[in-house]
Amino acid sequence: MPDTAVPTSTSTPPSRDRRADRPVTERRSPLAVLASWDAVVVLALVAVVLVASGLVGGFASGRNVGFLLLDVVAIGLIALPMTLVIITGEIDLSVASTLGLTSAVMGQLWVSGLPLELVVPLCVLLGALLGAVNGLFITRFGLPSLAVTIGTLALYRGLAFVVLGDQAVADFPVSWTDRAISSIPGTSIPQAVVPVVVLALVFGVLLHATPIGRGLYAMGNNDQAATFAGISVGRTKFWLFVSTGAVSALAGVFWTLRYASARADNGTGLELAVVAAVLLGGVSIFGGRGALIGVLAGVLLLGTLRNALQLADVPADTLTIVTGGLLILSVVAPNVVQSVRTAARRRRSARPPAPSP
């Protein structure tokens, strides 16, 4: 009969099979969790904060923490949906241009006399729409997200200049602009941090504790397999891009109020800082891997480094070099660690077992 001809390997000793079959997690010590990239970034952040508090004068003060947090709010906001997008294997480089266009529209609407309470939700809606355009091109027409979002990066920035021209709108009411930079009473933490924390919780729960989140990892690892497993890849990616657009618009509103100036060139180049922070946080650019806690730590790490180095009078170009170096490290290191681990595991399972008595 045909199936009895199927060869079974009876020659391999049982001990070797068991060692190869045993799940890896059983053998890892508790310290192994520290080897995950997220933990490395969090530890690095703690280390930088401690070193800076000791060495850099003026760093360890409430006022400075306030400045630091204000500087990272915009990047932190946009990094949240960007993490989800990169985990699915896509990327959205148009976020800074969405921020700029929203800022320009906000200024234009304000000049035309609309109340701010209406202008802000309208701008967030606009951002969602801009994100939907991205999503449409990527999911319906199947174009690569890198190409589409580079195109919309230029398109939206150009539209921002069409809307507002070379002017800046700067006469926003003091009550609103003060609220954008004021601190929570009793502390020196800016109020603007609250929406970031809330959104971080929302996106964190979505990514790590819901089936949708698991689906994102599946999509990032293998699009086709995810589709066959029943995940609606197209629809999920579409809504991800809508959320990137909406959150970028929210960041644009904050940016405009914080600098009290609506300009068409607000936020130019911010998309690179966001992507750098996300990649530093351990999210793989190829998709399928990463955690939100690492991204938050990455955002704070970059912000803290910038703040500390600036306080230590390090010139602007060196700051760029440090950021670039960190980014390369964050992309190369996990791959190196992974290949070292794989090689070690292969060596372990290839070792001949002890002879049985």
């Binding site: 004068g57 003026g58 003060s61 006022r63 400075n64 400045f67 500087d71 304000w110 000049v111 006399g113 609309l114 109340p115 701010l116 309470e117 209406l118 939700p121 309208l122 809606l125 021209g165 070379d166 002017q167 800046a168 700067a170 006469d171 926003f172 009411p173 003091v174 009550s175 609103w176 602009t177 003060d178 930079i181 940016w255 914080r258 600098y259 009290a260 100036s261 300009r263 060139d265 607000n266 936020g267 130019t268 180049g269 910038r306 703040n307 600036q310 306080l311 009078d313 010139p315 602007a316 170009d317 760029t320």
Partner: protein
């Protein structure tokens, strides 16, 4: 899978609810432009003790220069002039700044300087309003703010050192281009960044100057923006000549722009046919004046500008002046200076550079 009709119903329902919510917020009124006071809040008059003109300049003052961008030759010269002055008053000098001339990048440097307990911040603004909030916070924390080269909104600085009156600069630019093209023809302006306060002030006055009857033969066709970036200014000049092949002259009131435009013209078929003038430093423009690409251009001594700004800041921080109109202070080798209306201190009239006198300058 839900039937298409149901999902359309759901979409329709959510969008109409959203629209209704928005209309309600609009109807209930809110903060509109007409009713709000707008603008940035001025700090509550920095403890205006009366000025004491005989107060000595404090030693060890931290004076920091924050130009539009670092690695810009014009600002390097100006800030070195400031360094000379700071050394003379025995203070501590520092130059910080972003590498690209953008409005919001100056804010984090202002916050850093304020955190470092700087006594005087001397800055040239990329945008008159974007840095106001940060400057006012710094002033509340005890710093004095002096602007030079490009002003901010007057409510967020203590003094503005103006290199020359904007009208004087505009007049000299228009006069030079008119002489260079022979009084007739199309001209264009190659500016820096679209929002720079000083650029926009000069361009507006140049347009007013061009409306005068003696310049009726000149026609301003467009204004291009090189963003104070050498490469962009170069390609913008190319673009200008391609869009307007019968262009006779270019005014570039920015040292980066005029150097880039001169570099393009001297290597192209337009050398000698298209006139160029603007605000440039003698060292950058020397070869182009000598080979005939540029007949004459103007500037002031930026080192003097930085020098005067540093002395003004030191006088403010030492209590010699408070920034009110009519007060006087001594500015080292530049002698006694007085404060005009709106907290402005003038450096002097612009200098014209030609092939005859350019070798006598080294900056």
């Amino acid at each position: 899978m839900p039937a298409p009709r149901t999902s359309y119903l759901r979409v329709g329902a959510t969008s109409s609810v959203l629209a209704a919510a928005l209309l309600v917020t609009a109807a209930c009124g809110g903060t509109t432009r007409n009713e709000s006071s707008g603008g940035s809040s001025a700090p509550s008059g920095s403890a205006s003790a009366a000025a004491n003109p005989n107060a000595p300049i404090k030693e060890g003052l931290n004076i920091a220069f924050l130009p539009k961008q670092v690695n810009n030759p014009y600002f390097t010269v100006a800030d070195n002039g400031g360094k000379t002055a700071v050394d003379e008053v025995k203070g501590k000098y520092k130059e910080v700044g972003p590498s690209e001339a953008s409005a919001s990048s100056q804010v984090s440097y202002i916050n850093t300087l304020s955190q470092q307990q700087t006594d005087v911040i001397v800055t040239s603004a990329n945008d008159p309003n974007a840095i106001c909030g940060a400057l006012n916070q710094a002033r509340k924390a005890g710093a004095k703010v002096v602007t030079y080269d490009s002003d901010t909104n007057p409510t967020c600085r203590d003094l503005f050192i103006n290199q020359a009156t904007p009208a004087g600069i505009a007049e000299v630019q228009v006069k030079l281009i008119s002489e260079a093209v022979g009084g007739k023809g199309k001209i264009a302006i190659l500016s820096a960044t679209p929002n720079a306060t000083n650029q926009n002030a000069w361009i507006a006055l140049m347009k007013k100057e061009l409306a005068k009857p003696e310049y009726s033969g000149l026609q301003l066709v467009t204004t291009a923006y090189g963003n104070d970036d050498d490469q962009k200014s170069f390609t913008e000049t190319q673009g200008l000549l391609r869009s307007y092949p019968d262009l006779k002259g270019i005014i570039s009131p920015t040292t980066v722009g005029v150097a880039a435009a001169a570099r393009y013209l001297s290597g192209s078929q337009y050398k000698g046919k298209v006139a160029l003038t603007g605000l440039g430093t003698p060292n950058q423009m020397r070869s182009y004046v000598k080979d005939g690409t540029v007949k004459a251009f103007a500037l002031w001594n930026p080192a003097d500008l930085g020098y005067l700004a540093a002395y003004a800041g030191a006088a403010l921080a030492s209590g010699q002046i408070t920034g009110a109109t009519g007060e006087k202070f001594k500015a080292g080798k530049l002698g006694e200076r007085s404060i005009e209306a709106d907290g402005v201190v003038l450096l002097g009239p612009p200098t014209e550079f030609t092939a005859e006198n350019i070798d006598t300058f080294n900056f």
